[in-house]
Symmetry: D2
Subunit: 310 residues, 4 copies
């Protein structure tokens, strides 16, 4: 073998994460997330990137800068070198969204082998959310508490009834795999969930988003702020800057903005018009156009005033 | 470019499959499976294998032989060249097992966007299954019909109640994503599910197995016998022979069998003993040992008589 | 089964793509790309999205708007419903980058089974690229033709020698799997490569980028402009707008830009300073800072003048 | 939160593996494999399986029995809970086969960023393998040493020439990404390769097989016997028994064997005939039939005498 020298390998310690190993962070009325095991940290990301880039990079770029560079350019493979295993307790309804992410390793509690967990997500009287009108898949605001109280009571009764029926079936010797069929979707399940940091951040980007459903958002925020932030603080910082807080502008949007910024309002308007953004109703008001509305929000973020919004 | 000659490309037609395109095959009380689109067939498997093996193979091996060879040796990549897209209607409970297979493309009906499908899997009075005693995750036999009738009635009432509560929440303006939380697990969902033939056969191998839950087994059998058999008949035949009807013997099992077949009973017994298969209870009967019991079933399949079973 | 009505399924035709089925598009000196088979088109993306969103969406949003919405919000699963199978001829050196994309199905020509393809990528005298100084992994400009001529001649001789040694080994009965070991990395290979549209677009985004190596960029451009554009023109248009021509701004970049645009230069400078962008050398000039340099390019795209660049 | 009790989490130590952390195991003339990091062990497999099976299993089955059960029934997800990161040095030719396994995380040494590693796999005079006649993709036996000496000398010269041309290109300022194009396929590369235990065992099953190419087989054996055996000894033992040493029999093969074992030779012959196994040449000898030949090997393993082989 060539006269290569090998660095000594020592387990990389993440003191901050080790402190919370096994500790359950409560989520919703009866769920939790806790870290069971992990592998790697910020240092492993850097180490992996440097294998690709070869020697010499070390002196030029510091760790933080390198991690930011990788995040900015979506060089994702070094982030895959970190792996974490979580123990979760989640309502099945929420879990269905969760496992749509296909790149994790999963072992879930089986209600074919064992009696279903005797808990379902409950809703406090002030937690009933109103269907959003602007967003077909979202909610906005809460029902008033009096109505909420009624709904909560009904929920409780339904949970009790479903559970009683389940228990009766079990007592009568019905197979567990069939007895469970009418438990509410909100019944809790538990799982080990193991995923690499790149895929975890992708999960968090989608599920910490304000359009994600409240329940999974609460889990994601806990994973992000309580766990990843402790585990790989530099990667987390870069993620907050380049993913959570970023905005992407399409070619068209860049063209419109650029025209407006250099005071060529005419071109800006022409481009917007050609894109169908400025169609009006009979009363002269702008028609609803999702693409334009989202652009307006982004222009506002940049403090750019739009000529059609004067 | 080199003077390569290219075969003319024509869409490969699978007359048998084209005949059933779009046709729903009913499964359970209100589910179905139907083919929406597909790509490739037996011929594509052969074509892909021949790219790997280069020219010359063509003359030597016939298509059927080649496909059998690929299946036998688990050369899986040529089977990945075929792709199928199905439209499914499945109880959510069953769907949870389904999507544990991570290698498919999925678009599922969203109950955040739309009102939940107004149907749940129901159980006829003679369909209530008894918990298996030998198999912790299975069922065996049925409850008597009188009991079944009671359970079916109760199921119906629970479905009605859950649905009414759901509808009431919706009418009161509660967000769809929250209103659905207490629907029964047996509520139907629909999805487009796209998968390549290799991964589909792997799915079928696991889910047509007698240990798979009844519900998903019914879907798998429909997909296998009604769809894959028409789509890629040579691959299906090889699959039935080399997967569904096959048995795998461990090194230990081969050693024991070989000893017994050549009448060296002593060695066979010694090996079985050393493996802990022949431990006895106080009354002299063999202790339950899963590994031995499964071996006995396989030996029986080969018509080999085991010395400890005389 | 419920009284559901099922649309009639007919094979969706993509006239433009059918016209070029099997036709090889030349790339480099002896490579090519050609379409062997495909499944789905723009219409399938829309259809899949509508399963998720349920009915009713149809009236509100037109196909083009829906596809743009999906692309903008990275709702990737509907794009996975389209699948394409290409036949490629690529230098092995380039192929090594290619197969780093792990989400495709591949059958490659095997030089264990067959004699290696007798062709390697050659370089014309005006095609020798100079190592970039600013970009450690790139090239810029070309060597002068006189030097190029010498290098091309040498390349030719090396190819001949390697091939002769290969042929000699084969003639002497050495195993193909070993004989090939010293062929140049530029030797051509062929493969069937099957991938869904979402993953193909991701591949193209990375490999059509100006930082991608010239060779794989040529293949990507051919796949993009000659194939995908014909196959799914609406998806392609959205891809060009939202991926190829887009820019992403980090939270920090948005903050700096917003300050400058609203003439709060002081805050803008403070933020840039705090980020370490404005460190100077002894002579007062700005130190090289990759993050700032990339930001400057993006600000320029928006026609925003930066205070430290006056 | 419910009154659940959580076990204390402590890092699971694998003393045997910790002892060799970072130590390079030499493979081929200049390659190596070494462990950089890992997560989990036999205990984690058991722990994950018990989440699925719920409590109660613990008492019934011991760890070893449970791991054997999981391996036997291809319950693969618990093995996915273990993860290992290796540092490899491999000839590119071999690496091409390696990365066909798509389920690993990879960071490879980049010859766009850095000068190519100055080493290629060399072949000693007694290591030149002869092309197998029975197996189109294999080798059998070695060329005689005199011939070997000549080939080795030629190999050396070619390596020198290729390297000189590479160095010259680099010295002349040609881009690294292009200069490398004619290096021999046998040039070494290095990579970090991270994979879970399930996928690693699958890799080993395929690549430790006698049909795998010599080079990758050497790496696989090193990984298996030096690393996995130390890391997860119970999983390794089960793997050796149920994978490396096992044989799978198709339905047809089971039928033929069963008939012969119970002395119903007639049926056995009929089945074999119908399968086309017993076709003869003009001289009465059996035609070559791959399926029959492989069956004969398996029957021999079981000490079953075949009627057509008397």
């Amino acid at each position: 073998m060539s006269n290569q020298k090998f660095e000594k390998i020592e387990a990389i310690k993440v003191t901050e994460l080790d402190k919370i190993l096994g500790k359950p962070f409560p989520v919703l009325n009866d769920g939790f997330v806790r870290v069971i095991d992990y592998m790697g940290t910020d240092e492993s990301i850097v180490q992996a990137a440097r294998v690709s880039y070869g020697k010499g990079t070390k002196q030029v770029q510091q760790d933080r800068g390198l991690i930011r560079y990788l995040m900015r350019h979506r060089h994702t493979t070094p982030f895959e070198m970190c792996e974490i295993k979580l123990h979760l307790r989640v309502p099945m309804d929420c879990w269905r969204q969760w496992i749509r992410h296909r790149t994790a390793n999963i072992n879930e509690y089986s209600t074919r082998y064992s009696i279903a967990i005797d808990a379902a997500q409950t809703t406090a009287k002030n937690e009933w959310r109103i269907q959003s009108k602007s967003n077909k898949q979202g909610s906005e605001g809460f029902a008033d508490e009096k109505l909420g109280e009624e709904l909560t009571l009904e929920e409780l009764k339904l949970h009790d009834l479903s559970r009683n029926i389940y228990n009766k079936r079990i007592d009568l010797g019905i197979a567990r795999e069939q007895a469970r069929k009418d438990l509410p979707l909100a019944t809790y399940t538990e799982a080990y969930w193991k995923i690499d940091l790149h895929n975890l951040l992708h999960f968090l980007e989608l599920r910490m988003d304000k359009h994600a459903q409240y329940e999974i958002r609460k889990y994601s925020e806990t994973i992000g702020y309580e766990i990843v932030k402790r585990w790989a603080p530099l990667a987390w910082e870069a993620f907050e800057d380049y993913r959570l807080g970023s905005r992407e502008f399409s070619k068209l949007e860049l063209d419109v903005l650029s025209s407006i910024i250099k005071n060529d309002t005419e071109t800006g308007l022409k481009l917007a018009e050609r894109a169908g953004w400025l169609e009006t109703r009979k009363d002269g008001s702008l028609k609803q156009n999702l693409e334009r509305i989202e652009f307006e929000e982004k222009a506002y973020r940049l403090s750019v005033k739009l000529p059609w919004r004067v």
